[in-house]
Symmetry: C3
Subunit: 398 residues, 3 copies
């Protein structure tokens, strides 16, 4: 069973994406529509190769450096899977949560870990204004290091979740949507509800809803952002979503009613997050070292949360959606009522009905990350895909 | 110096072991005699290839996930060595000791870590009724994930030690015995004494003695289990040993006398373990979160232990064995009197005389684990061994 | 762009270094001048291959075991980079700071981790008289294990920093000097000042200054060791430096004046370290478990340190050097005045002017470590380099 890589190559031939070569992936809205399409195409092509047991190793050796400032199982495994597919070994840096380095230290460490690094993946989503900024400092540092002759290759930065965006998540989500609806051409006019949902836990990152509205608004869909009053996301990303919607012929609307969001939705994405303003405040408190202030803020937010326990994705709400069977999405793990907590984001029966699609949704992430690396590392991806398919090196001698 | 892989292939040709393909390795007594023999044969074949500097990589890429709930150096290195021999990269999950996940969480995590996983190795030996159960939950979850199309391949579960069995240890031990006595055909009627020994430490796992009596009873040997009163092992495994002995033409006997066990023994395996009943009690206390109860139990067990300091493998006792030179075995590290503790499982002079064979015993483990992976991953192992030998890819350009 | 490996091979052909095969790298002064030159040559050759995108994998599989008793980012990444270049997977042992194993335990653990280990890298620099001794115990253990048939291959020990020497650092530093001055033949009579500098932190290891004077004294340079009274380094290493200087036609001098050291220096290496005598005392206190004594000693040393804040590498002092532009060196991270601390080893303006050369200096380390492994693992390195160049396996399909 030989892989048929031709359709992917032909699709790539029609696209312009040469700026992705030797470049980073930090925010989806920094990429053109054609670049996003190239990414999806390469992700699908890499999956196609693997399904046909053909190796996609473009590296004989080399390192993929991971730097997780926060615990992570899913993203860590996705990153190491992506590295492994392409032939890179993972070396963890893991600087820890507390230490937020600046200036000289960032520049120096970035170079010191990069002598053999082809990729650096960073997850830093704890503090508003910090994570993405840190990634840009690292990117700038290795770019300079490369230009100054310190580094023999320029490692590519991959944003594995920051304070603003979570591109590997939103792109995996989007590729799931595309395949679910049989192609991007079927998405025009579809309604997607990115809605807040109650969780007993505190301070879940904003990068998921922000990533979703910042990306999903590019495909002509009607993106509806729903949350209780006070749970606003970053204004800057809302403006991105509005501009995207306008350009793509879709809409971007907001509501404080979960019902309204679910009404006739084709896709629902109910998920807890913390208010942006509160997260900004937390960052300030952290900057001042005011740990009592942080503890007080946490109590305040938990109390505020408790007022919105009715924001749950129930069967009743699912019944409001288009044909009663909208695609339910989540980045996982979800807070499931009666399973992982007493009252949560989603009722057990809804979650259970969508378990398989949810797992499949997650399964796109390793390929999305691998595609980010591939496009940053191959000057002519079509030719490399062609070579890989032709070599037909078995991944696994069965 | 070309490898001569033919004898191994011929031996495999005479055996039926096709159920091992795409299957897990959880308890030795779930495998047939021919499957166990196939495992030993493949372990020896992989060693033969390596000794002749021939690569046994059957994977060009892929992940071996390790999940150690307990500290481990030996088994961790054996697992990563086995993965490395076959071409897999290790990715650690390491969920930690305290967190014993259930149901939805196990199912979800098992799938999330398995998108690119070919093997999952788990060590979970802390609580009676938990470790093996957890492994079966993971195995069931990835089986379902594979059938539902979530996973492109079905990762193989390898039991790296549970509450019931320690198959990678007992099989490495057994392969050591086979080679020491010049073949499995020489084992009929040999006496092996699996005996309790004193250690100042608390709560050593039962999986080693259980694994040993559950496996060694299959080869026509006289298996003698010795321990002070009150140090009974799991009844279920004793029944396995008795049934095995009957079927293989050997015997399975029990005694409360270390002397009796050593008398005319060909092999002695003196090692500390905790009473099964006490370990069940500990699990209940843990379930109730009764940490004071656990601490009290520990004191009680240490006091009980101290009554049996005379259960030591001394030169005097070794003199009772067949010809005075039984093969001394241990899973390591041993508590050596006057070396690692004041009073322990074995006297320094006995341990020292057997140091080299003990190290060799341990050296079988990476090959046993690699053979478990190999047989689960190759539909036709004979053909793959043939190909590897024929390719003759150098492991190391010397 | 094919690699031209011939010059490297010709240089190696003129050298005698066969004792490096199957041997360890623990102290630079245990190696002959020709062995050191072979090491530099192989390091350069491996870099040449990589710059030409040619794989230097001499291992198809195998493990490089790392054992860091102390936190380390730079050396850890250098070690894993070196392993990766040659095709080895890294497996961390990381026994932890506190546990200093002895005798039986060292021997056993060394063998248990080495069944598939081709290299073991150890960093153990905390206590005088311990680190290097431990490495020798490990080396002896695996040598015995190999001879006794326990191990199929003899893993090579690489000293990643001990209490006496830091060979991977000093050799990387030296290779930087050689390339900076256009060849080892240009170093005769050059003055290098290895000088103490103030840092607000406590107990920085002696292995860097010791490693530098122990190595740099071999090339006909004038090595000047400068420090305040009371900051003497290990006498044994001073004697090595003096003997080296004599033999190489250079000099080894000492002074208690930073000015004097900088005067007309071609190279300056200002860096903080702890007094050797105090570190010996700390080791004794540690041996007695006297933690109060250790805390008191720390206070005493910090107070002593504070008397020497004027030992800073300033622009004024740099102006004293040869032509005012000596090569400034540091093992990084440096304590930079006004950047990483209020008062430190070097002024910000000096550091900043030398940032690029400093980063390049660090960039030699992965190649130095890889060359140590290469020379220990290849019986005929010239032939292997030739084969690698001829194969021309792409490291990265661009």
């Amino acid at each position: 069973m030989n892989p048929n890589i031709k359709p992917y190559i032909e699709r790539l031939n029609a696209l312009k994406f040469d700026d992705m070569y030797q470049n980073d992936f930090l925010l989806t809205w920094e990429k053109t529509d054609q670049e996003i399409e190239a990414l999806f195409t390469v992700a699908d092509a890499l999956r196609h190769l693997r399904e046909h047991n053909v190796s996609a190793k473009i590296f004989d050796s080399g390192l993929a450096v991971s730097n997780f400032r926060d615990n992570s199982t899913r993203t860590r495994f996705s990153f190491s899977s992506a590295a492994n597919i392409l032939g890179l070994a993972v070396q963890d840096l893991d600087e820890g949560k507390s230490q937020i380095a600046h200036g000289e230290t960032v520049r120096e460490t970035a170079n010191m870990i990069s002598f053999m690094a082809d990729v650096i993946g960073i997850r830093d989503d704890m503090y508003i204004g910090k994570g993405n900024t840190y990634m840009r400092e690292v990117a700038k540092s290795v770019q300079e290091g490369y230009e100054e002759g310190v580094l023999e290759q320029r490692p590519t930065l991959v944003n594995l979740q920051c304070d603003i965006d979570h591109p590997t998540q939103s792109l995996a989500d989007m590729l799931h949507i595309i395949h679910h609806f049989g192609g991007v051409e079927n998405l025009k006019g579809k309604k997607i509800a990115m809605t807040w949902a109650y969780s007993p836990s505190y301070g879940k990152p904003l990068s998921v809803p922000q990533g979703v509205i910042g990306l999903m608004s590019r495909f002509g869909m009607d993106v509806c952002l729903a949350h209780p009053e006070g749970y606003e996301v970053m204004g800057e990303v809302e403006r991105v979503a509005a501009a995207n919607a306008k350009q793509s012929g879709g809409t971007f609307t907001k509501t404080n009613s979960m019902q309204e969001a679910f009404q006739d939705a084709d896709i629902v994405y109910p998920k807890s997050w913390a208010p942006f303003a509160a997260m900004e405040q937390r960052t300030d408190l952290y900057g001042k070292g005011d740990m009592d202030g942080i503890a007080a803020l946490e109590q305040e937010l938990l109390a505020q949360n408790a007022n919105h326990k009715d924001w749950e994705c129930t069967e009743e709400r699912m019944a409001l959606t288009k044909g009663g069977d909208a695609l339910y999405m989540h980045c996982l793990p979800a807070d499931i009522t009666g399973v992982s907590c007493a009252e949560g984001e989603v009722s057990a029966s809804v979650f259970d009905r969508y378990r398989v699609p949810l797992y499949k949704e997650a399964g796109y992430k390793p390929y999305i990350i691998a595609a980010m690396m591939f496009l940053a590392k191959c000057e002519n991806p079509q030719q490399i895909l062609q070579e890989l398919a032709k070599q037909g090196e078995q991944r696994w001698m069965k």
